[in-house]
Symmetry: C2
Subunit: 357 residues, 2 copies
């Protein structure tokens, strides 16, 4: 009986052959063709310095000829490094998400890393745990948590301890660095702008309270008003959608004294403006509106939207940079980074009616 060994060899062949007998060439195949050892092939491909140009050329030629491609799984298994980072985002198609992941992807690629995404439908601790677990199981070297964490569950805590994690615009966990836009500053810029235009009754349509950036913006708005000795009206809360902005706009438009609104996102601001329009209150003549994000459309609605721009792409790059540093040296001290937002004045804000020119 030609039992175990030969049979295993045959099995191998069958496994690889997708039906046509061809097999992906391996490093050994390349090595044989080039007349060197597999090890030398590995070194050549890894860009190791100590390889003679002549040898390198031979190897590269063989690689070319066979159409050889490195097997990623094997490389990962053997080296223990996956060269992949994971990104956790919300499933919603917010402008910010699209831009952020874009910046992350680009920066990661430049650092020689791949990106694996895991989205979560909700801010549920369980859902986020699940997303992070999926990434961890995939063997990512680090994770960028682009969701606003409210509670940090023990499980998440544990995960962030075993996998370097950077939180973007979220709450800070003990083991996590945070890269964030200074949301409080964004709110102050917007509110101050309105105050400078003479407004004294400035309302706020906020994002969901569970979101850190929503509450930061709210706080920034409140602080600015209080610092100026202006009244702080009740907060209206939306869910980031234009529809929620619209609903709140309908409420706002019926309140006589309101002359300005700081809305926590451009999308909601669109809804607010729409509602005000329907109620016959003109923007900016009757009411000034400021948004946050500077989405592409902000400049092209009527009136064009005054807003606070957030450098999403740069944030993505920054997050990757921090993550790389953290991956390289897990013991490095966390260095939270914050990026400054920028006020962009357009046509949706104006001097309060009747105010001194």
């Amino acid at each position: 009986m030609a039992s175990a060994t030969p049979r295993a060899g045959k099995t191998l062949t069958e496994k690889r052959s997708g039906g046509d007998g061809a097999r992906q060439p391996g490093m050994t195949d390349v090595a044989r063709l080039a007349g060197v050892s597999a090890q030398t092939v590995s070194r050549t491909l890894a860009g190791h310095p100590n390889v003679q140009p002549k040898t390198r050329a031979k190897v590269l030629a063989a690689v070319e000829q066979l159409g050889y491609r490195k097997n990623n799984a094997a490389r990962v298994l053997s080296s223990g490094r996956s060269r992949t980072i994971g990104v956790v985002t919300l499933q919603t198609n917010f402008y910010s998400r699209a831009n952020l992941t874009c910046g992350i992807e680009t920066a990661a690629r430049e650092a020689g890393y791949s990106v694996s995404t895991a989205t979560t439908a909700s801010l549920d601790t369980a859902a986020i745990e699940d997303a992070m677990t999926r990434l961890a199981d995939q063997g990512v070297e680090g994770v960028i948590l682009a969701v606003p964490l409210v509670h940090v569950s023990p499980r998440i805590e544990q995960l962030t301890r075993s996998v370097p994690t950077i939180t973007v615009d979220g709450s800070r966990t003990p083991a996590t660095e945070v890269v964030a836009v200074d949301q409080s500053l964004a709110a102050r810029l917007a509110t101050r702008h309105l105050i400078e235009l003479g407004h004294e009754n400035i309302w706020h349509v906020a994002g969901p309270g569970e979101w850190l950036d929503a509450s930061s913006r709210c706080a920034g708005w409140r602080d600015t008003l209080e610092a100026e000795g202006l009244p702080v009206p009740p907060v209206l809360e939306g869910d980031w959608t234009p529809a929620s902005g619209y609903r709140n706009g309908l409420i706002l438009g019926k309140i006589p004294d309101v002359t300005a609104v700081f809305v926590a996102s451009d999308e909601m601001a669109f809804g607010v403006i729409r509602a005000l329009h329907e109620l016959g209150r003109k923007v900016p003549e009757d009411i000034s509106v400021v948004g946050v994000d500077d989405i592409d459309l902000a400049e092209y609605c009527s009136p064009s939207l005054t807003t606070v721009a957030q450098p999403f792409a740069e944030m993505g790059a920054l997050a990757v940079a921090h993550l790389m540093r953290h991956v390289a040296d897990p013991d490095a001290a966390p260095a939270p980074a914050s990026v400054e937002p920028k006020l962009i004045v357009r046509a949706s804000t104006g001097r309060v009616r009747g105010a001194a020119g």
Copy 2:
């Protein structure tokens, strides 16, 4: 001399220990603790039926106790299946991209697959080749090409042959299935709607000519006009951005006879409307505007935008379904799928002025 073997053992330990001596438990550790073989652990975790409940329980308990997690790289290497699919998209933050990837991610997860993304900055053949190569090197089992391919280079051809590929809304390659929205229908719906409102001079602001969906929409618009015996005005071309819509809107607004415009995307439509507004031409009283996409904001601008909705999320799911089928049976005959868009009438279109009521 305790030479080679022991030393290698030590190396291992050092490699794993991230400084604290703890090591990720492996399958053998679990097996030892549960008092079974590694194979049984594997079977249990793979949900293999032939495992006694008692044994399964022991294994699961051991897994739990050690906090064991399967090593993905090892699994992939040994099984030859990565359970990962790749998605190639453009870096631009178009609404469609965000929604599509969302649908893909969700569907993939439900099918037990992970998603790895690769974005390309341009439609360059080289850039797309690069993105696909990155994914292929990562060992994805299939690829969803969510970019509109113009030319299919030999290299891409070759890649699609070795990796099951589904193209979304792109041109059809020999080895590729296509899942697409019927863009021509979208254009016909929009154009017919305008015709029914009495418009006879219907212009079109198209997307970039290299994009298949742009040219399909353009063709659908042209065909409909010709079928009705209406004049076919010159095509204005934009680049999907609101800014390009604005530029074309400025041109359109100065042409006296124009009473309706079919714009190839909502974002451009916003720009067009904005320009018309600035020129003092009212929408829809003077000019009716129809967009395509039904972005979230379409309903909340003034006037709310009549548009043709595209079921992006469903398309993503459909693409994944087709890909899974293709991965399971690479020899299956391609079955192109097409999804129907839906006209959504809002306030940016109206009867042509002076037309019979």
